[in-house]
Symmetry: D2
Subunit: 347 residues, 4 copies
């Protein structure tokens, strides 16, 4: 039985992790912690969990001390707060899966540029692995420190990678990612703009040209392509709780058909347990409540473009589900353990 | 042209008032004020109003000084903050329409009991008028200080009053009001429970047995009935922005038919411009965006009960629309001026 | 491994059943059928299930022939369509769990009265058991034919039963059930009133004084009380997909406190796996995605009434989850098998 | 007083037109018609309009006969149904404003290609005017037949036109329009995919590479640019009732700043009553309930792209509001008559 510690359990990603771990046949939650709610019961903050997870929330300090008693440390904290914890976890010989952006960027100066924060654990960047199993499974296997990808990035990278790994298929200078997210993606913040009465029944774009997931996407697809790629990434908030729908546009360099693109997707992910390639169109609700990434493709013969749709549940494949997938890999379990049986929530 | 000052313009009721006054043919907004956003433009807080109302928000203090330049003062402030303003407005010979609970209860001790606040202007209670035109139009005509009713109370009182004014029609000991409100009813508060991700797709009750609108409903229906009446009032939050749907249950003392009840409603409100008596069923969306109160009735012959459905838009007939209706009356205008042309928002 | 056949798999309750059975460790789906979509894949109708349940939907006729190969027949068909199937299933020695109203009412004439349909299998009414395990677990154990309760009824009966079984606690002549349901409760019907553009952001009541769940509630609570009870039941549609919130009002005969009422609830359901008694208030989202019924109580000392809040997921505890709970009981499995691990969907 | 006839009054665009005309100071509704609901009252179909518009719906045949009694004929019918009506209206010397696609495309063969319908009134194409006042006001002034633009097209054309009219500003070979619409955009259809329980809380793309608004956008922006332009247009459905948010991507040919782009927008629309150029970001809710098109711009200096956000209310500026704007122009009224006072619906 894997003992897991969850720091930052009361954010949306954190609570989703608690939900998944609660039902994981090979893992148990050793502790949950919260900066804001230390001393309260987890189920007082999320009454959904009453009689399911009534553990008392530790303070971050208490949680740091409890690291020695666990096998895997999950940190679902705001950016910039997990540097010391990672050092402690590594020193104690633990495995750590971090949900923040702190270890996602290979180059600390890029991190500091986009996040306006000094990187406090540069020495760990060389050994961390970017935790997208469908791209880096082999590296993840032996890793101690996993940088768990962001939600927008997971949906975007999985789609774009399949295209750029095919030499010369698309013009890598014109990749546009128009992404639509549910409101949980903005976190559990006391922010007027996130109120039901404000965010409901409306759509907005934000962070145009400046969203921090951009360098993360570019880093990963550049690695896959073997050359530097810039992408245009624009996030939008949709009036729904969960789910990401990314629409990706790329100019085709060759005369290819829709079937060809499906072959490309099949080559990339045909054997993947958590990627479903759909001939029909994606809808974000089809993946809500699951660890799937759904992909579909259309070719516009008039404009010589390919348009990929990519959908995930932002809190599962975009956060907690992927983290558990990573845990399963680094702990030698079946990759889908505790994830395949997530209840389909339809409608 | 009536000059109107709006204190507390950036709350939900306040901004609705700005919207209505902007289109009112006989009124103009002299100033808007806000405790939280003084110095900013109204349209920076509500970008909907860009190029429509770009006035700079005064502080409450500046607003109090500006009272002398207006004809009507609207106070859409939290409870307990309009005592001094009312005294100043009265002293300056102005008319005032207050959106809070501060002047709604005839008895200051009842106010202090339910609101846990000392009443700071008891001397004004004898002259204030409860601003429900369908009940107290004649008194409103000559009033200087209007206590504008609450949203739950408007929907509830209009329905119950029609029943209790008919001598012996119902058992006044068993009146149950189960009310459902949109989330704007809880205000523009930085409160986690009001986030889209929390309040969406869910229903809850709150304030059971203790909601502060209870004594207000009881006061008004008791006046109409000519005897003391207690009601069971339970509010619920619905996952929608606007609208109130109140379901009212009363035991019948007599053998009456549905037609009889519709006669009772017709007697009470047949000539009212803003009450629509429906044979078909009410739905809250039918009144959203308007100043109407829709009423429909069903009789259960098996159980000898009457069930009334009552719907309003909580921010219009439940706040700003009714306030303008009151302004029209006290200023000698047509009661529907600026209110009849509210755009139907369907769907 | 229990072999289950699902007739009517493409309705909302049916697909929820498919979801639960797919993850049930002791059951497997032998066939799925659909009147409307026979010959298509289940996952073509519900693309959520792609790669999870891609079985071809049988016609009802094919399904009836396939009954002999299964252990348990689930019928999630419209009212009036399962009479012959039940006879066949009984003749073949199978167990059957029916989701419709066809076997819920003990008295066929009451059924015919409220459902305006001739009852086609009166001979089965004496042996069917009303499948509410928290009330009738012992009878369910040996049953062949289970009448699976409706969604409103489950939420209502569980709450009211606890009150009426305590002799003289409440005035049984004044029980009012004001119930609020998500829109899936109205089924997957091509009905303009159920469109997003119509049903969204609005509340309505329907079936006042005439809803067909009324006699079912009255039958069950009367059995528990040992005397005939009439209830006032009013259903409402809320702008949300899932969940029921029932607000139950009853006049107290005695001077009791809130603690006393919690003792009453504890006596009734303290040991129940799927009933959570909450000191805090219920919200429908707390149970969405689970098989729980959450109950909370408030006493109004001013009015001498008790108000119970009761919440379920209409498709799980109100349909498919309860059906699986019944299957577990009649098949000798642990009652929670396949139900405890339903993922908490929060938010 | 302008007499207006509304054919197809019970679709979503039609009812919005009824709402606006009801409050128009210079117009009155002579008749409303409906293919599906002839003989019923308009307010029976849209109970919102009870006591506001209780007119009996004519059949289309009756409506055609009534054309002679009106000044302006509005046809809000499905594509392909207004050919004969237009001929009759023209013959009778009436003005007609058509909501369908029937007269939007200059070239009948393009129409027939994309709409798979034979064009039944080719002779009228030379005199019709595309009713986008901000582009073709002068032509609209003298027109008898107005092709009222579609909703996606209005939002898209207004944004793209401003860019392409500046010679050499953008690479016209790489214009991508990623548009998000509320669900009313799909009409009042008995379609399972539009049910609240299906369309709520989810996002999907549709009509990728094949949506019929594409040639309409291309035709208009090509006219403005003076050369043939192809665009990539992808529509999405959002879980909200009203509103369109279009995100437009274009590669910049020159080194320009955000200020430069705002100058471009200002040059194009600085004097327009119904276009608001925003420095802050657009949100679809800011225009809901109004006839505005809101535009904002961002320049990505890293990628040398401009991203324009364009928002309208699909039923107002995207249909009925624009139709009334056109009516005002062709009838010599102030262009904003009956449109400026639309109530801001915030939130």
């Amino acid at each position: 039985m894997i003992k897991a510690g969850v720091l930052g359990a009361t954010g949306y990603a954190g609570q989703q992790l608690v939900s998944i771990l609660t039902n994981h046949p090979e893992a148990e939650i050793a502790f949950v912690s919260s900066n804001s709610y230390a001393g309260e019961k987890f189920s007082d903050i999320y009454p959904q969990f009453y009689q399911i997870c009534d553990q008392t929330l530790l303070s971050t300090e208490e949680a740091e001390n409890a690291i020695c008693d666990v096998d895997v440390v999950f940190t679902a904290l705001p950016n910039g707060l997990s540097f010391d914890i990672a050092k402690k976890a590594m020193a104690a010989g633990k495995k750590m899966i971090d949900f923040s952006a702190d270890y996602r960027l290979d180059d600390a100066s890029v991190y500091e540029d986009w996040y306006k924060t000094k990187h406090g654990a540069r020495e760990l960047l060389s050994e961390k692995v970017y935790g997208l199993p469908e791209l880096w499974r082999n590296q993840i296997k032996g890793a101690r420190l996993i940088a768990n990808p962001g939600c927008y990035t997971t949906a975007s990278i999985l789609a774009v990678s399949a295209l750029v790994r095919e030499d010369g298929l698309i013009d890598t200078g014109h990749i546009i990612i128009d992404a639509k997210s549910g409101i949980t993606g903005s976190g559990r913040k006391k922010d007027v703009s996130l109120l039901y009465s404000e965010a409901g029944e409306s759509v907005k774009a934000y962070g145009i040209a400046h969203h921090r997931h951009t360098p993360e996407i570019e880093q990963e697809v550049s690695k896959v392509a073997g050359k530097n790629i810039m992408v245009q990434f624009t996030p939008h908030l949709m009036p729904m709780k969960r789910g990401i729908f990314a629409t990706i546009y790329a100019d085709l360099n060759k005369n290819v058909t829709e079937d060809d693109i499906y072959d490309v997707l099949g080559n990339a992910y045909g054997d993947e347990k958590f990627i479903r390639i759909r001939r029909g169109m994606c809808e974000s609700r089809f993946v809500v409540g699951t660890n799937y990434c759904d992909l579909s493709a259309r070719v516009d013969e008039r404009t010589h473009r390919v348009i990929i749709s990519s959908c995930i549940d932002n809190m599962i494949k975009g956060a907690a589900g992927q983290a558990v997938q990573n845990m399963n890999i680094i702990c030698g379990l079946d990759e889908g353990e505790g994830l395949s049986g997530l209840t389909i929530v339809a409608p």
